[in-house]
């Protein structure tokens, strides 16, 4: 389904501040995989997701999605295949546009935009149905500007927008980290529901080990720009936080891979 081979990315090349964010990442993702990604700060998790989304060109490697080599595709073109939810709740929706306008824009993801009406009457019923699933009462506020919504509401809306047109790949980059715990849990439940019912191929970065273990069918860990741990299906089901900590310690010789935030999250 998705195959990443030899992905390398360095920032500030040739500068004293040169940082190798990704130093050779290989990953094969099967159709319908829900992979959680953990790793300490600067391990390369977010860079990996951004590279998949095409936010910058990579220095080396290949990205093949569903048989198509998209390594050189710009970000807007990949958006036709990829849905995204960002850590910052403000990034996913357009504050000056109404809820229905945002959904209408998302409903055209990867499709040709013409001079037809932006929000069609028949779409409104569809939007209301979809919004009702969120359980936030947004279905009655189609004309509300999203700038007036809370961070949690905006993030839930972004989640819906990212999946309104079925993406071949869903990228979630710590999408609950900026929310309070209760709202975060709500968005996480929503994630589980949408990804589960639609059987979406998903990569989710999280700082929370419990989340990483509880969700998805596969868990990978980044360290210094590489994938150092890959735990699948059966093994993942029986995984406990303590096991994970032990694996980290074994792998890295206890050089501070695990941050307090990962334990406490």
């Amino acid at each position: 389904m998705i195959s990443v081979t030899g992905m390398i990315k360095a920032f500030n090349k040739g500068d004293v501040n040169e940082v190798t964010a990704l130093s050779g990442v290989d990953l094969e993702v099967a159709d319908g995989d829900f992979i959680t990604i953990i790793g300490s700060n600067g391990a390369g998790k977010s860079t990996f997701l951004n590279a998949l989304a095409g936010m910058f060109p990579i220095d080396a490697g290949r990205v093949v999605l569903d048989g198509t080599d998209i390594t050189r595709w710009p970000e807007y073109k990949r958006a036709a295949l990829i849905g995204r939810v960002f850590q910052d709740p403000l990034l996913g929706t357009c504050a000056g546009a109404t809820i229905e306008q945002n959904l209408a824009m998302a409903n055209k993801r990867g499709l040709k935009r013409g001079l037809g009406k932006g929000v069609r009457t028949r779409d409104r019923e569809f939007f209301r149905e979809k919004l009702a699933v969120l359980g936030l009462g947004l279905e009655d506020r189609l004309k509300t500007h999203t700038g007036l919504l809370s961070g949690g509401q905006r993030q839930a809306l972004t989640m819906l927008m990212a999946t309104l047109v079925r993406p071949k790949l869903l990228l979630l980059d710590e999408h609950t980290a900026a929310l309070d715990p209760k709202t975060g849990a709500m968005v996480l439940d929503l994630t589980d529901e949408i990804v589960g019912t639609e059987k979406l191929t998903t990569l989710m970065v999280t700082h929370n080990m419990k989340e990483a273990i509880a969700m998805g069918n596969r868990l990978i860990m980044f360290h210094r720009g590489r994938i150092v741990l890959d735990i699948k299906s059966e093994e993942k089901k029986n995984l406990r936080v303590e096991d994970l900590l032990q694996r980290f310690a074994d792998l890295r010789g206890g050089d501070g891979v695990v941050s307090d935030r990962m334990l406490l999250g």
Partner: protein
């Protein structure tokens, strides 16, 4: 203020109305401060003047001016998106280049349209009204027609992408829109309107001048800000109409200022740029001061 002066101010307001709408598109919608307009206004005037004197219809010359303005704006957009030059600098470069281009187009610093028939004359003959009534009416009709088309456009699928590009570029990119193209088209559209406005102004005052664009951006900003302060900007449609009416209010304010006398001191037309600049500064700073004031009160 006499009625005659009032109609004159309204006429000016609508003559520059398309320019103000163009500035609104870049400044408020695309969040792209565009100084190209100081060059594209005289560009439109030059193109129109040359077209008319070489025998083209005055109406067609307005569209030719718009086309030239569109190209000028596109170049600014390309400099910004493809060559990664800061928007402000990209637009200054276009503006400076246009000064030379405008001189080339006319072959001299200014060009009179004396004895040439313009859209203003044609409309007056057609309606049989007094010139001080027919001219503002003509310009108002043109401006409202353009506003109506823009309101329609901004509610289409493309229009929503246009709005979102200025609001949240990351969001609309992740929805599959190539924002580079939107910016290039948007800045082009804006400058097409500004150049069309330049053509109207030239036909109205009977001459094109290479220096007539100085201060266009500041006058445009002042009009946009006055419009949204007085008429509100809750929806895009409302903000567009507000910008247009802001242009009229701005010209009326200037007419009033010119009529003012404080003892032996009176304001002359040469003071207008200073007054406009101060007006824009005040309008830009006011919201900040207001917030501070309100925040201070909340603490107490």
């Amino acid at each position: 203020m006499t009625f005659y002066a009032f109609f004159g101010a309204v006429e000016q307001g609508f003559a520059y109305g398309l320019m103000v709408i163009g500035v609104y598109l870049t400044f408020r919608i695309l969040d792209f401060p565009d100084l190209t307009v100081d060059g594209s206004l005289p560009l439109g005037a030059s193109v129109s003047a040359v077209a008319i004197t070489s025998g083209h219809s005055p109406l067609v010359s307005i569209f030719m001016a718009g086309g030239a303005g569109f190209l000028a704006g596109m170049i600014t957009g390309i400099l910004n998106t493809k060559f990664k030059i800061l928007h402000l600098l990209a637009s200054i470069l276009s503006m400076i280049a246009l000064y030379s281009i405008n001189l080339r187009i006319m072959g001299r610093p200014n060009m009179a349209l004396l004895g040439q028939e313009t859209v203003v004359d044609r409309f007056r003959e057609w309606t049989g009204m007094l010139p001080q009534h027919s001219t503002p009416l003509l310009f108002a009709v043109i401006c409202f027609a353009v506003v109506a088309v823009l309101i329609w456009f901004l509610h289409t699928e493309q229009g929503l992408a246009f709005l979102a590009t200025g609001d949240n570029m990351q969001m609309i990119t992740s929805q599959g829109v190539n924002t580079d193209n939107v910016i290039i088209f948007g800045v082009g559209l804006s400058n097409a309107l500004v150049a069309a406005s330049g053509a109207l102004v030239a036909q109205n005052q009977g001459a094109a001048d290479v220096n007539m664009g100085v201060g266009t951006i500041v006058a445009g900003l002042a009009s946009v800000i006055i419009g949204e302060t007085v008429f509100g900007d809750k929806t895009v449609s409302r903000a567009l109409v507000a910008a247009l009416l802001g242009s009229v209010l701005y010209r009326i304010a200037i007419a009033l200022a010119l009529g003012m006398k404080l003892g032996s001191f009176s304001i002359t037309p040469s003071d207008l740029n200073l007054i406009t600049a101060v007006l824009v500064v005040v309008a830009l700073v006011m919201p900040r001061i207001k917030r501070k004031f309100l925040a201070g009160r909340a603490v107490q």
